[in-house]
């Protein structure tokens, strides 16, 4: 040592400069998101203008919205109320050509829709979001289902609607305001704060000679006649009248700059905003995607934790930060408010850039609301005021009044669709890495799982598998025989996923690039004729315009086996970078003024682009060579409706405890916004997790609906067995637990596909009256049965778990018992996190360890029955072939289990679509048996168990204050109804 150091020092003067190529680094990764690459509200012209308007309203005593409905124009016909909306500041005289058209639709699902559009704009405002987001034209409420209650003395029009006539809408004309009430209690109020603002399309006026700010082009300024600019005099008075805030209303109307980028805005300003008050409601949720808490934080008001509004603008954000309202990869403008007494939600159907301010109204400052509240004593005197601001399009808002969460999820899903029932394999474990290097590597990883007896279903290949980032191709040196590779995986019931991104390398020799050019399906520059060209992984690239129907069909056709050479039935797809990510563009995305099919400016549809891509890919997989196979496509970008096309994940997270913690609130938020099939990369994408973090992440990740491990190119290998013992055993145990619960998960997915329910659920949706859980996002429910509290800190071996409700909870491993309600410190040693089954539920499992989910399909079931305090429990099991669309033809098994008064009854639910297919799955799978019943919470050991005339043995042991009893081989199947009694 010493001599070496000595040598270095003595020869210092003579050292030769080391080759730079030989230099590396020992970089402690401290890099993180570069905030200044992304706009703040004040850097986004329309956001700044609308926020300034809100400031003016706030600062103006007795602020009154200038918007008024012309009472004489109101018409109610077949569930639709229409009328003219006037801005008394702009429309100086009540004109016969009012600028804005107002519509209120009452829907057959008890939801309501409010639309405000320009009546005769100089060019039509974009109104096409509904065409791709709404699944079908909805039905309006029948004339019998609502009742116009007439106008009161203040000119307020009241209409009662809803299946139980539970809902009321009150429309005030001057100022314009709409209040939605549930059972007489005001819940959602529009324009209560008077922040409605609507920028009408206009022609750019030639710049009048006004005071130059000094920064404008010197030449023009000097050539302008200065005569009119009289120093002093009248102008000054006018100038004084315009406050700073008022000036802000006129800024960045026609062009705006951000860093080196200019947005040309050829149509000028066309934004709009409105406030939506959730009355009596203190917690609002939703509007993903943000790296933030489940219960949204205030962005306005004196003690607001955030100063920026929540932003919805799909962006590729490198190493995003936690606790932040910055925009991320996806957007769903859906917000749900909840209090002990009411639940309501809104869907702001707009795909342009959108910002949302949230302000919490403290109890003593309800102001205008008080008048409403006085008459209803039970209402909580609090409110959450939200301010929604969109850059373009029309104001199109849906209001859902429940009255329960389940109603809201159903109402919302009836418009935008439920999650597609996924292939069974896709809810099992996925192994991903950027990159598995070659076929040999793939074979070794695959063998590694078998060798270490860890189940997995899917192996993923990232961008390096392609020939120079040309999607649909293979690097032939590394993957000389992709078909053989996939077949060797599928022989063990396993699948493969390859990545396909929407940027197409500009290369005349690349078939996709060439065909795209020939068919003219690329996004165009703002001139509308030349193709947009930007930079992404492959270098200079073009982006497919998925708004072009021809492009969608052509894209879908690329997935047929004869087009995608080297693809097989067991190959599925990963859509990344679809915000879209453009390395050379403003905010790492495509400029807003590029042009889509039909001369639509990108700014109108930005947040939907990724979903259009996702949808076209899913279409491609569904129709490739008519396999009758369900598609599986993972996407990074998302929007309302994405659930119909596949799964999403939370993008490029970091191998840190903070990001492990973030995953729960993010996934809960995305789930309740209609996209339940979601996950966060287990282990964290960037960086190297240590063994403890990785193990804890697996223990948490098995409770993500989409369960995938992924790692960055620069990170060390971290396949589950690489950290050695005890970690390999702990990770194996976690993954196996996921596999045992697959029947339960699959049943939840089926429920979600019908009802629109989330799969992992915030505590408040299961315990809606327990205020202690309204802000809780560090523990959650899987379905209504299983409580999960991930460990998200290093060296934590005790966790403070909240046991809600008055019933018992059973540890899913050792069946130990906890009694709700209240917090309790629970042991969470390295090999487990707290996971509990709620009393009153029945969870179906398959307990035999297997190497893949496919290998489990003939296995028998175990039912874990957790009795509640009156000895009851219920649950269900859904099963189909896991891969085809035959379930749509009724080929499935749905069995409901119920325990009451000492009898377990199993009843097969008849399928409503009873056109059964020949030699159906259901017929055969009906013979699958239930090999084991585990009964938890019995007050006495079971003595006599009978099914029909057979008597069975139960073996019981005491755990805590109750008994755990196991019944071996009851000799019953899932396809045939039975009653099993025990005493």
């Amino acid at each position: 040592m010493e001599s070496a150091q000595g040598r270095i020092k003595s020869s210092k003067r003579r050292t030769i400069v080391r080759s730079v190529l030989g230099l590396g680094l020992a970089l402690a990764c401290v890099s993180a998101v570069k905030r200044e690459d992304f706009k703040t509200c004040s850097q986004s012209g329309f956001c700044a203008r609308n926020r300034a308007y809100a400031d003016i309203a706030k600062e103006t005593p007795q602020w009154v919205s200038p918007f008024q409905l012309n009472p004489s124009s109101l018409r109610l016909h077949k569930g639709v109320l229409t009328g003219d909306l006037i801005n008394v500041q702009e429309d100086k005289q009540p004109s016969d050509k009012p600028a804005l058209a107002f519509e209120l639709h009452l829907l057959d699902t008890d939801a309501a829709r409010v639309r405000i559009n320009e009546r005769n704009p100089i060019h039509p405002r974009y109104d096409g979001v509904q065409d791709t987001v709404l699944i079908k034209p909805y039905g309006h409420a029948t004339e019998e289902s609502y009742q116009k209650l007439g106008k009161d003395e203040n000119g307020i029009l009241t209409i009662q609607y809803g299946a139980q006539s539970q809902n009321t809408v009150r429309i005030s004309s001057a100022p314009f305001k709409i209040e939605f009430l549930v059972n007489g209690v005001p819940t959602v109020i529009l324009n209560d704060e008077g922040l409605l603002r609507f920028e009408r399309l206009r022609n750019k006026e030639e710049p009048k000679v006004e005071e130059e700010e000094g920064e404008k082009q010197g030449e023009e300024a000097s050539s302008d006649p200065l005569v009119e600019q009289k120093p002093g005099g009248n102008e000054i008075e006018i100038a004084i009248e315009k406050s700073d805030l008022e000036k802000k209303l006129e800024e960045n109307l026609w062009e705006e700059r951000f860093k080196e980028f200019t947005d040309s805005k050829p149509r000028g300003p066309e934004s709009f905003g409105m406030d939506i008050t959730f009355s009596g409601i203190n917690h609002v949720y939703g509007i993903p995607e943000h790296a933030s808490s489940l219960s949204l934080k205030a962005t306005r008001g004196p003690d607001a934790p955030y100063t920026e509004p929540y932003r919805l603008y799909n962006l590729d954000v490198f190493e995003y930060e936690g606790d932040n309202p910055m925009a991320l990869y996806g957007s769903v403008p859906f917000m749900l408010g909840h209090s002990k007494n009411s639940t309501a939600a809104v869907f702001w159907m707009n795909a342009a850039e959108t910002w949302i301010d949230v302000e919490k109204s403290p109890e003593d400052k309800t102001g205008g609301l008080l008048s409403w509240i006085k008459s209803k004593k039970a209402v909580q005197p609090a409110a959450t005021k939200t301010h929604w601001i969109s850059e373009a399009g029309v104001l199109d808002l849906f209001v859902f009044l429940g009255p329960t969460h389940r109603d809201i999820f159903r109402q919302y899903a009836s418009l935008v669709g439920t999650t597609a029932l996924p292939q069974a394999f896709s809810i099992a474990y996925h192994q991903c890495r950027w990159n598995y290097n070659n076929q040999q590597d793939v074979a070794e990883v695959d063998a590694g799982f078998d060798e270490h007896d860890i189940p997995y279903d899917v192996l993923w290949l990232d961008i390096e598998h392609t020939n120079g980032k040309r999607y649909f191709t293979w690097d032939e040196a590394k993957f000389p025989n992709p078909t053989e590779m996939q077949e060797s995986l599928s022989a063990k019931g396993r699948k493969m996923v390859t990545i396909i991104d929407p940027h197409i390398k500009k290369d005349g020799d690349y078939h996709v690039s060439k065909e795209g050019a020939e068919l003219d399906v690329y996004i165009k520059n703002k001139d509308g004729s030349s193709d947009f060209d930007g930079w992404c992984w492959p270098g200079s690239s073009q982006w497919i315009d998925f708004y072009n129907p021809k492009a969608r069909d052509w894209w879908a056709s690329q997935f047929s086996y004869d087009k995608y050479i080297g693809s097989t039935k067991s190959l599925f797809t990963w859509n990344d970078m679809n915000e879209p990510s453009v390395f050379s563009g403003p905010e790492i995305t495509i400029p807003k003024d590029v042009i889509h099919y039909g001369n639509v400016e990108h700014r109108n549809v930005h947040n939907l682009y990724g979903t259009m891509f996702h949808s076209a890919t899913a279409q491609g997989l569904t129709h490739r060579n008519e396999t009758n196979q369900r598609p599986f496509v993972l996407s990074r970008a998302f929007f309302a409706g994405t659930q119909r096309f596949g799964a999403i994940w939370t993008g490029d997270n970091v191998a840190s405890w903070e990001h492990l913690e973030l995953a729960s609130p993010m996934l809960l938020t995305i789930g309740l916004s209609g996209i339940p099939f979601s996950g966060a990369d287990v282990g964290g994408f960037f960086g190297n997790p240590d063994a403890e973090l990785l193990t804890r992440w697996y223990q948490a990740g098995i409770y993500y609906p989409f369960f995938r491990a992924h790692a960055h190119l620069d990170s060390k290998r971290r396949e589950p067995w690489l950290f050695g013992e005890p970690y390999t055993t702990q990770i194996r145990e976690a993954i196996r637990t996921r596999y045992t619960l697959l029947p339960f998960w699959y049943t939840l997915f089926q429920e979600a596909s019908v009802e629109g329910t989330p799969i992992i659920r915030p505590m408040f949706t299961v315990f809606p009256e327990d205020e202690a859980v309204f802000g809780m996002d560090d523990q959650y429910m899987v379905g209504d049965a299983i409580l999960v509290k991930p460990v998200v800190k290093s060296a934590v071996i005790r966790s403070n778990v909240y046991f809600a409700g008055k019933e018992k909870w059973f540890d899913i491993k050792d069946y130990s018992v906890e009694q709700g309600p209240g917090f309790k410190d629970i042991e969470s040693p390295a090999d487990k996190i707290p996971v509990y089954q709620r009393a009153g539920t029945i969870v179906p499992k398959r307990e035999r360890p297997r190497r893949s989910s496919k290998a489990m399909e003939n296995d028998p079931f175990t039912l874990v029955i957790a009795l509640d305090s009156v000895g009851e429990a219920s649950g269900r099991l859904y099963l189909d072939d896991g891969e085809s669309f035959n379930y749509e033809k009724g080929d499935f098994i749905l069995t409901e289990f119920k325990v009451s008064k000492g009898v377990l009854s199993s009843r097969k639910v008849k399928s409503t679509t009873a056109t059964s297919v020949e030699s159906s799955f259901a017929e055969k799978a009906g013979g699958l048996r239930i090999e084991r019943l585990v009964i938890l919470g019995a007050t006495v050991p079971l003595k006599k168990v009978t099914v029909g005339d057979r008597t069975l043995q139960a073996s019981c042991s005491q755990v805590g204050g109750s008994y755990v009893c196991t019944i071996k081989e009851p000799q019953v199947t899932i396809g045939k109804d039975f009653d099993l009694s025990f005493a």
């Binding site: 150091q5 020092k9 210092k12 003067r13 050292t15 400069v17 080391r18 080759s19 730079v20 190529l21 030989g22 230099l23 590396g24 680094l25 020992a26 970089l27 890099s31 570069k34 860093k259 080196e260 590729d316 954000v317 490198f318 190493e319 290097n437 070659n438 040999q440 590597d441 007896d453 022989a491 019931g493 930007g534 930079w535 270098g539 200079s540 390395f583 050379s584 790492i588 190119l713 620069d714 990170s715 060390k716 290998r717 035999r848 297997r850 190497r851 290998a855 489990m856 399909e857 003939n858 296995d859 055969k924 013979g927 699958l928 048996r929 090999e931 084991r932 071996k968 081989e969 199947t973």
Partner: protein, 582 residues
């Protein structure tokens, strides 16, 4: 291959039980050698192999898991944690996990297809074919192994004799080393004495000489310091540019060229920090030295050193920016990158990159005309230097009229010279001897395996050509990746594990955004030394698979018997009690 239909499992399970009890004493999935373990006691009961539970013998293979260790279901998947024995008649019997039974996969381990018996998946019995192939394969392997083992034995003989030889050499050297050391020490003291005399003489004339030297060097020092100032300014300009780049570059672009430059810069900073720490440490000891008045020559050297260092730093940063400029993606328009390139471009015309110097700036030679101290004391390392210097001093001194200093010198030139020569010779001997001893010690200490066979591989180099790169390793030396230039992947560091079949090479060139490169060399038996495959499982962590006779170990008697009888090792359940039969 796979026929999917769902069984009526109950009846199947029942028939299984019957079959086991009545037809065949041996439960399905149990090796004949363990038949006694799988038999009921007198009451028809049976104890789980971990002893945790007693169950009716009829519960064995009843497709329900009773035993916590899974031992009651060797022939069904009910427990999934047990082991299933395939007899594989015609080939070698094997065990598989019971989790692989009836899972729709014909496991290659069970060539008789006995793992899939529920009728859902038909697996044909391919043991004849597999057996024939595997026997052929095994014969081939055995042949290879035999030949490899023969070579290995030669290796061992070579290794042992070479070790012995080395040992002897070492001992010999060690034996004579003390006399060599003594000789060096003796000549050293003679030299010291001569030097002391000379020094005394020089000391007496020191002030005059220094004054002259000061006069002579002052303008040069001035000039050198100006250059130093300039270089320092440029250096800080580059530092600022790179700091800005690091701070402000847009990471979203993933521009590899920019990343590489920043990585290189970070490495430079790291190195700088290390050096500073080192200097701080060494400076602590030499406070006195600092306070000493420094001679003109010392100051000149300091300025030259500092200038050299600054230029070296500039050169490095220049190179970093230059590489970025050549490779960065111009489409991104990253302000930070453009700014850094601007700095580079503005500076480039004044810089000669190949010589790492400012264009036209020639090295300032220090004139030696003046008589001076140059070296007041010959250091042992400067072999023979003193005599030469002394000569030059004397020559120079007389040239500029300072010859008086040497007039009447009491120190005879030849006295020092002779002492020096003697010392040089002795110390060279000593150095050589020490070097040789060290080398031998290292070789003797290196672990060449239990019987020294790996010694034969020392410095043997093998290569593997891939599409892009050629990978090489000189065993017990260095591993490299070669394309247009060589990248070190590491030097031999240690064996992995106790089996003498895996080596680790570490400390290779550092990766961008990654660790120092390293190689794991995994060896299997073969008749020649060659690399079979190279992979990079993790970034910059390479894996070589190579063949070598050095790992063709003798087969143990047991293993031989096993391979002859084709019997697998009997699987024993964890926690299984000792049975007399075993």
């Amino acid at each position: 291959m796979r026929i999917t239909c769902i069984p009526i499992v109950i009846t199947l399970a029942l028939s299984l039980v019957q079959a086991n009890v009545t037809v065949d004493k041996l439960p399905r999935g149990v090796a004949p050698s363990r038949s006694k373990i799988y038999s009921p006691d007198t009451k028809g009961q049976w104890a789980c192999l971990d002893g945790s539970k007693t169950i009716p013998f009829t519960a064995i293979n009843d497709d329900y898991c009773d035993c916590p260790d899974g031992s009651d279901e060797p022939g069904t998947s009910a427990c999934g944690t047990g082991y299933f024995y395939c007899s594989n008649i015609g080939h070698t019997p094997a065990y598989i996990k019971t989790s692989r039974l009836n899972d729709g996969v014909c496991d290659p381990e069970c060539c008789d297809g006995s793992d899939e018996f529920d009728g859902q998946t038909r697996c044909s019995n391919i043991c004849e074919q597999v057996g024939t192939e595997s026997r052929k394969e095994r014969e081939k392997l055995e042949k290879t192994h035999k030949e490899g083992n023969r070579i290995r034995k030669e290796y061992a003989v070579f290794g042992q004799s070479s070790k012995k030889r080395l040992q002897e050499q070492l001992e010999k050297l060690q034996a004579v080393s003390s006399s060599v050391n003594q000789a060096a020490a003796d000549t050293k003291s003679t030299l010291d004495a001569a030097n002391a005399k000379l020094k005394e003489h020089l000391e007496s004339t020191k002030l005059e000489r220094e004054a002259a030297r000061e006069l002579q060097l002052a303008p040069l020092i001035e000039q050198q310091n100006q250059r130093l100032d300039h270089a320092t300014k440029i250096k800080s300009l580059f530092r600022t540019a790179l700091n800005d780049l690091k701070e402000n570059q847009n990471k979203n672009f993933h521009d590899m060229a920019v990343k590489a430059t920043i990585s290189g810069y970070d490495e430079y900073l790291e190195e700088l920090k290390k050096q500073e720490e080192e200097e701080n440490n060494s400076n602590k000891d030499s406070q006195e030295e600092k306070e000493k008045v420094r001679s003109a020559l010392e100051r000149m050297h300091t300025a030259q050193d500092a200038t050299y260092d600054a230029k070296k730093d500039i050169g490095l940063m220049f190179q970093l920016l230059k590489e970025m400029k050549e490779k960065y993606n111009t489409e991104y328009n990253d302000d930070a990158v453009l700014k850094a390139i601007k700095v580079l471009d503005e500076f480039a015309p004044t810089w000669e990159h190949s010589s790492n110097d400012f264009i036209g700036e020639e090295f300032i030679d220090i004139p030696d005309e003046d008589a001076g101290e140059k070296k007041e004391e010959a250091k042992p390392e400067d072999k023979g230097a003193f005599g030469e210097v002394y000569n030059r001093i004397q020559k120079g001194a007389s040239k500029v009229g300072l010859g008086f200093l040497f007039k009447g010198s009491q120190v005879s030139k030849s006295e020092v010279e002779i002492a020096q020569e003697a010392y040089n010779k002795a110390s060279e001997e000593e150095r050589k001897s020490e070097e040789e001893i060290q080398k031998l010690e290292k070789k003797v200490k290196t672990d060449y395996g239990p019987d020294e066979a790996f010694a034969k591989l020392v410095d043997q180099c093998v290569e593997f050509k891939e599409i892009e790169y050629t990978y090489s390793v000189c065993l017990f030396g260095e591993a490299k990746q070669k394309s247009h230039s060589d990248t070190s992947l590491g030097t031999f560091s240690s064996w992995v594990g106790d089996n003498y079949d895996t080596q680790l090479y570490t400390g290779g060139a550092r990766c961008w955004n990654g660790p120092e490169r390293s190689v794991k060399v995994m060896m299997t038996c073969g008749t020649e030394n060659k690399i079979l495959a190279v992979s990079e499982p993790s970034k910059c962590e390479y894996l070589y698979k190579m063949e070598t006779p050095a790992v063709c170990y003798d087969l143990s008697e047991n293993a031989k018997n096993d391979s002859n009888s084709n019997a697998p090792h009997v699987v024993v359940y964890p926690g299984e009690k000792k049975h007399d039969e075993l």
